[in-house]
């Protein structure tokens, strides 16, 4: 029986899809059997970030409606064979996703994989609720920025009230993933520190992903950052986070991209 994980945030654009792909690939590279499921019906993007956009035949709604078997809809990653993707539908009939239908698909995925990672759409509407519904573990992706922290607080409230675990008076295990963090700006008091965000949201820290050019480079290439450049700072941070998910004790550090002399002299950008 695998674990069901939801990657959620409330706010859009904070790095849910990037983190889903990067963590999924990191877990798969360590030998785990992983499926990532895109719940962003109508605005699917996980396929694109993972470089599988031309291989989509069936999607989540096809499986829910019984038009395709789960095994037919899964896209096996070409780089890591323990990583699979279930894409979202690009059509707009969101109502085709029912609670029961989603429960059934997630239950079947849980039988076949060690990790079922659900990439939530932004917002607090039905799509986000469906994505978190079956979760055992939630990763709350937050940027060190006021609107993102506020929305994360809302999402944490929903994880405690709107999930199947909550209905059974159990707790979804919640973890904070701080993304786009700039330690230099935080030191200069220009950006919320991780400790500030932790104190406000009061859930345990899974990892700190530094702001990095490598993230855009990886999505340009259609490859999770943990595969595209495993030695880069964000990739190392995601690998650490993946190890913590597996229960390992790993010290929290903010990895930095190694820059050459020229990069160090001219690399600092104007804020």
């Amino acid at each position: 029986m695998g674990k069901v994980l939801v990657v959620t945030s409330g706010k859009g654009g904070v790095g849910k899809t990037t983190s889903t792909a990067a963590l999924g690939a990191a877990l798969a590279r360590s030998g785990e059997n992983v499926v990532v499921i895109d719940f962003d019906v109508g605005l699917r993007n996980l396929d694109l970030v993972m470089g599988a956009e031309r291989r989509v035949v069936f999607d989540l709604i096809n499986v829910v409606q019984g038009d395709a078997k789960l095994a037919q809809a899964l896209i096996r990653d070409k780089r890591i064979d323990t990583l699979s993707l279930l894409p979202a539908s690009q059509t707009r009939d969101k109502d085709a996703l029912t609670n029961e239908g989603v429960d059934k698909v997630v239950a079947e995925a849980r039988e076949k994989f060690d990790w079922v990672i659900c990439d939530s759409p932004a917002g607090i509407e039905r799509g986000a609720l469906l994505a978190m519904r079956n979760a055992d573990v939630a990763i709350v992706v937050t940027n060190p920025e006021v609107s993102s922290v506020r929305d994360s607080d809302r999402i944490i409230g929903m994880l405690d009230s709107k999930t199947l675990k909550a209905e059974r008076s159990e707790q979804v295990e919640k973890h904070l993933l701080v993304t786009r963090y700039d330690p230099n700006r935080a030191t200069r008091n220009e950006m919320l520190k991780v400790d500030d965000v932790l104190e406000i949201l009061s859930i345990p820290l899974l990892g700190i992903i530094p702001e990095s050019e490598e993230v855009l480079r990886a999505s340009n290439m259609g490859s999770p950052v943990t595969l595209n450049n495993p030695d880069s700072a964000p990739a190392r941070a995601y690998f650490d986070a993946a190890r913590r998910l597996k229960g390992e004790e790993v010290d929290v550090v903010v990895p930095l991209d190694r820059k050459g002399l020229i990069g160090r002299l001219f690399g600092r950008r104007v804020a």
Binding site: A186, R188, I200
Partner: protein
């Protein structure tokens, strides 16, 4: 712009933290509000309206749930001159008793 402003740190992050703490304390109390609080608010408002005219928004009820003790905070904003604040629901109101 003087020279000092070049050296002064632009510390906007503490402002962000303080704003968030205040905002979320409020939002959590509003969103986590139970039916009990809604009922209390209605009934307390009804009692107050017998004596003085107050806006609905002038009555705020907050509950702070602590580990051992919870506190109920009732905040009523009383108009400057309650007798002239507006029409009364009761045509023959009793004079508010002094506390």
């Amino acid at each position: 712009m003087n020279l000092m402003s070049l050296f002064r740190k632009s510390s906007s992050a503490p402002v962000a933290r303080d704003r968030l703490q205040v905002l979320l304390a409020h939002e959590r109390s509003v969103i986590g509000k139970s039916d009990l609080l809604a009922t209390l608010q209605e009934e307390i408002l009804a009692v107050i309206a017998k004596h003085i005219t107050v806006e609905r928004e002038a009555v705020q009820i907050k509950m702070d749930r602590g580990a051992s003790v919870s506190t109920l905070e009732i905040d009523v904003e009383v108009p400057f001159d309650p007798t002239k604040a507006g029409p009364r629901p009761d045509p023959k109101p009793s004079v508010p008793a002094s506390a």
